[in-house]
């Protein structure tokens, strides 16, 4: 009998779970309580958006199997291992769940059943991207990824998330980029169209570190994501590039947050979204510049393209600027395909639907180009093309 999540919490099976070490029963129960009491802060159901994220009952899901594929060969000193092994090997010496906050991060914390640790030693430059592949099989899975990039190291991570029909994925990823480290984390989510996914991504770069999140949320019926960068030091370069594209009756809710607590850092957020069919989306782009964060430069740009009359995207840039002497810029657009662009292309011989398709795909290119691996770029393009054609 596959066990449900409720049973898993209530019975003492946790003690004997596959991850007995570190995440003990009490910690899980605390995290679950946190999940229950934390408001989602997300879109309320209404005319367009149909799902109440605060009333989601997950207790009936069956626990699934998380398949984790990691690279076979790695640069010297780099560690990339399964989470269970990492808990065994490093015990309390690593900052497990040290950055987690928010409702859905707590959910992963409560049920974590697999994941990966990536450790890059000081000064190490990993030339090849590190591929981390997650596959959710038959039920609910809770992957946790911890990345620690030591001083002046450089690493490029490409995460891929797939799964079987009807799966449920609550993923948490934390990135610690130490002084002068450069981390790029690309994630491509291609879950089946009846899946649900909640993902939380949080980075805490130190002085002069650079972090780039590049995410493509392509699949799932319900996709709720958050991407956070906490700028607690000077000289940080933070970049968030995100794209999503709900079609049919997919729902996507993305929140990005760059929190400038200390000044003299720079952040860029670029979000491109399209919706077709009855696709629904909400994007909330937070930029916070706290009173002491002088000399901060923050940029936020999001563009939303509506490809059908029932599609809807709410796009809300939210800038809280409490410091003087900062440069903050934001720009947002929402609209249908521009008729003049369309006519330009059609007048050169392209059929209307071909022209619309080209414009819609081109619209995502500025984000796609930020994915550093050619393979990923082509995969994202192919997935978007399939959606535009659908």
């Amino acid at each position: 009998m596959p066990e449900t999540l409720a049973a898993r919490l209530n019975e003492d099976v946790l003690v004997a779970s596959i991850l007995p070490y570190y995440v003990d029963r009490k910690e899980r129960l605390d995290a679950y309580a946190m999940y229950l009491r934390t408001p989602s802060g997300r879109e309320r159901p209404g005319r367009y958006w149909k799902i109440d994220l605060d009333k989601l009952d997950i207790s009936g899901h069956e626990l699934g199997t998380l398949e984790v594929k990691l690279p076979a060969s790695l640069p010297p000193g780099v560690v990339c291992i399964q989470l269970a092994e990492a808990f065994e090997r490093y015990g309390t010496t690593l900052p497990w769940f040290g950055l987690a906050h928010g409702k859905f991060a707590a959910l992963t914390h409560a049920f974590v059943n697999g994941g990966a640790l990536l450790y890059v030693p000081a000064g190490t430059i990993a030339e090849e991207p590190i591929q981390i592949s997650y596959r959710a099989q038959n039920g609910a899975v809770f992957p946790y990824t911890l990345v620690i990039a030591e001083e002046r190291s450089q690493v490029d991570i490409v995460e891929s998330i797939r799964g079987s029909d009807g799966c449920f994925v609550a993923a948490l990823c934390e990135v610690h980029a130490k002084e002068g480290a450069r981390v790029r984390y690309a994630s491509v989510q291609e879950l089946p169209s009846d899946a649900q996914t909640f993902s939380s991504r949080i980075a805490a770069p130190q002085k002069d570190a650079a972090i780039t999140w590049a995410t493509a949320d392509l699949g799932a019926h319900l996709c709720v994501s958050s991407i956070d960068v906490l700028c607690n030091a000077t000289g940080i370069e933070a970049e968030i590039d995100a794209l999503f594209f709900p079609h049919d009756d997919q729902h996507v809710d993305l929140t990005t947050t760059v929190d400038h607590r200390v000044g003299e850092s720079r952040s860029t957020t670029l979000v491109k979204s399209a919706a077709s069919g009855a696709g629904q989306a909400r994007y909330l782009g937070n930029i916070r510049i706290q009173p002491s964060a002088h000399g901060t430069e923050a940029n936020l740009k999001d563009d939303a393209l509506l490809l059908s009359k029932d599609a809807h995207i709410d796009s809300v840039p939210a800038l809280e600027i409490d410091a003087n002497d900062v440069k903050a810029f934001h720009g947002a657009t929402v609209g249908a395909i521009d008729e003049d662009q369309l006519f330009y292309m059609i007048s050169r011989g392209l059929e209307r639907c071909a022209a619309e398709k080209m414009i819609a795909l081109g619209f995502f290119e500025p984000v796609i180009e930020r994915f550093s691996s050619q393979g990923v770029r082509d995969r994202v393009r192919a997935a978007l093309e399939a959606k535009v054609t659908a």
Binding site: S347, R348, I359, L361
Partner: protein, 256 residues
Amino acid sequence: MSHSGLRITDLRVNVAENEILKGINLAVEPGRVHALMGPNGSGKSTLAFALTGHPRYAVVSGSATLDGQDLFAMSADKRAKAGLFLSFQYPAAIPGIKVSNFLLATRNAVKPGDLPPAKFRQLVMEKMDLLDMDISFLGRYLNDGFSGGEKKRLEMLQLAVLGPKYAVMDETDSGLDVDALKAVGESVNAMRADPSSNHTGFLIITHYPRILQYIKADRVHIMIDGRIVKEGGPELANEIERSGYDTIREETALHA
């Protein structure tokens, strides 16, 4: 063939319920160059858009045929496939679509499979060379961040690569420097003379006689307030340059 040519007969066009074109008659034969001049707002671009099928321009009455085919019975893309090309006065910028991809997609649309890829590349290179364009333009997004003159050069490049039967050039000369103007002239002259590009016929919309120093116009038409009020040889362009449209306005008023 008696019905060859781009033939416009008694054309009336409305824009947003306003009558803008009030009965236009004009015919462009293959390999011929017609210049269309007229004050701002007289309806020149309206004519260009109505011919190419822009949805905002409503044809009220009249006809337009391209080598005998009824243009107004065709969708805009079919008109391009039939051999009509418009060089836009204000070309749209389309981020995310590379010039190289667009050239290939449009050539395949209007002349499917007529050139093997190597030959196509060669054609593009030749035309870029002729227009003095750097090949780096191929990797840029369509008109995105292009200067005014660069946009016009890209229009000319597309015109040369697509090789239509008839081309309407809407103020392609505005914003071009002298060298570019010369290059445009050479390109047009080559196309009208070239049997392999169908002896393209041109309708050149312009405010300045200067471009006609490089391209010999067979006929000059003057449009005022949605009507062609005067026609003549190339010397008519210089007359306009000298004395503006007022004299013509007065003449037409007298005739009316």
